[in-house]
Amino acid sequence: MKKLLSALVLSAIAAAAVPASAAEIVVIVSKQNPATRMFSEQASQFFLGKSNLFTPVDQADGSAIRNEFYHKVADKDAAQVKALWSKLVFTGKATPPKEYPNSAEVKKAVAADPKAIGYIDKSAVDDTVKVILTLP
């Protein structure tokens, strides 16, 4: 029990100590998607299961870019987002976004689907996708 507790405390400290990365994040859609610009509140709707108009494509659970994205568009930390999705998943209302391991894979998935919306590191952008929002 003591071991478990100290493990818990240690992991909590470790989680709190992860520094936020300062890279710019951009929200991207496929070239075929007619959208040209979007507000961050709108973008958050797709990633929080509130709209099905676009299909969200997510970064890896626990990654710095994912934590930063949700913080910037919805002011929510990873646990809040997970709690929100568990409401939707376990009531059969929605399935969580598909996850990809890095910006290159997210970009590939978004480029391939006209309804997809994703977010990647600004430095990973190329002409296969369209940037509709930049998060400073």
Partner: protein, 405 residues
């Protein structure tokens, strides 16, 4: 020993499922789950505190059964618009040991981006958190306040529902309507405790509006409850009939099917670290039946300090009259008159709840909650009460680990 076994079983099930999911996963199958490992005790053995429809409550020794559960869910995406989902939930309910129920099992068709239809078994969204009340991780509080959630006996229904989602500017509107037949067991707490089975055609709807961090929801549901085997009630109605009170007996009984309506308004907020949840609901008999009309409400307020969220809540259940009026002649038979009078009265109770949720690691939350229960009429919602009733306050302390995977 029992506890260690359970923990081991939960861990083994989780590991096995993940291994299996990996093996089966062709990209269209997703397996997920949720659960709570909780332990609770109260400060007395004179009465027991239980969740709604639980046969075993907690007394003055620590027990796992109050809050511990495990839900497993599989969803298979058949194509872009059609999917199938099944969920089983293991917990302590109307039996004296852990049992597993099929809580959800439906085919879902996405008609367009805003409308989805589900056919099969769905959980009835009677109240604000009805359809995710067993998912500890999705809730701030340790368990749904029994004052409110004890009003509705119906858990799921076999039929269909339709879900609609539409944005009007920054306002997200969702609506849901369902119709089906609900079947299930009820724990009858009077005497030594027994179980009864009900069958109820049911239908209802809910409408919710979400504006940024604020959500407001209204819901109405009706069920035509038919219960043949509530022993204590059947014994009473048999006696009433044989004493010549046939009308009263047929007014009281559930054996012929009686309509009950549930109406609720509730909301949640998560605004600048202030987390709130409140709800008010009424249960009304639409046919004459012994089940009393009730009004219930609760309000919770919390504040998020990083990943630590302390909260306070107050909950209340009160009687709102009865659909049945006993004939004046019944007064001439005092024991029957007393029994009927007691049956038609609602149990009343309030609770003060303080707790804290700590999101200490990925997909894990630790909760500690203290409930101070003040039973009113008919010993409130407490079970295993002494024959003379119980009106002393009861304190329940609980700790639980919520997880999702």
């Amino acid at each position: 020993m029992k506890k260690q076994l359970l923990v081991a079983a939960v861990l083994a099930a989780t590991a096995a499922l993940q291994a299996q999911a990996g093996a089966l996963d062709d990209g269209n199958l997703s397996i997920s789950g949720f659960g709570t490992l909780g332990v609770a005790k109260s400060n007395t053995d004179d009465v027991k505190f239980a969740r709604y429809n639980q046969a075993d409550g907690v007394g003055d020794s620590a027990r796992l059964g109050l809050d511990t559960n495990l839900g497993l869910q599989a969803t298979y995406k058949i194509n872009d618009w059609l999917s199938g989902t099944a969920q089983v939930l293991t917990r302590k309910a109307t039996e004296h040991n852990f049992g597993t129920d099929l809580t959800w099992a439906f085919l879902k068709a996405r008609i367009n981006d805003e409308v989805a239809v589900r056919v099969g078994r769905v959980v009835v969204p009677t109240f604000l958190i009805s359809d995710y009340q067993n998912v500890g991780y999705a809730n701030t509080m340790m368990r749904p306040p029994i004052e409110m959630y004890g009003q509705a006996p119906i858990e799921n229904s076999d039929g269909a529902d339709i879900n609609y989602q539409h944005a009007i500017g920054d306002l997200n509107v969702t609506a849901q309507a369902f119709a089906g037949v609900s079947r299930g067991k009820l724990f009858v707490s009077s005497g030594a405790g027994s179980t009864a089975s009900y069958r109820a055609p049911a239908a209802g709807f809910s409408v919710a509006g979400e504006y940024g961090p604020f959500l407001l929801r209204f819901a109405h549901a009706r069920a035509d409850m038919k219960i043949n085997d509530i022993q204590p009630i059947n014994a009473l109605t048999t006696t009433l009939s044989s004493a010549g009170f046939n009308q009263l007996a047929s007014d009281i009984t559930f054996t012929t099917g009686k309509k009950i309506a549930f109406t609720s308004i509730g909301g949640t907020m998560d605004w600048n670290n202030v987390v709130g949840q409140a709800e008010y609901a009424q249960r009304r008999a639409k046919d004459k039946v012994y089940l009393p009309d009730t009004n219930a409400w609760y309000a919770m307020i919390g504040y998020r300090f990083g990943n630590v969220l302390p909260y306070y809540a107050h909950a209340s259940a009160k009687g709102a009259g009865s659909s049945v009026t006993a004939p004046a002649a019944l007064a001439k038979v005092p024991p029957l008159n007393a029994a009927v009078g007691n049956l038609l009265a609602a149990s009343e109770q309030t609770s003060d709840i303080v707790g804290v949720r700590w999101d200490f690691a990925k997909s894990l939350a630790l909760k500690v909650q203290v409930d101070r229960i003040k039973p009113g009429a008919k010993s409130g919602e407490l079970i295993n009460v002494p024959a003379a009733g119980y009106n002393k306050n009861v304190t329940v302390v609980a700790a639980g680990l919520d997880f999702v995977f």
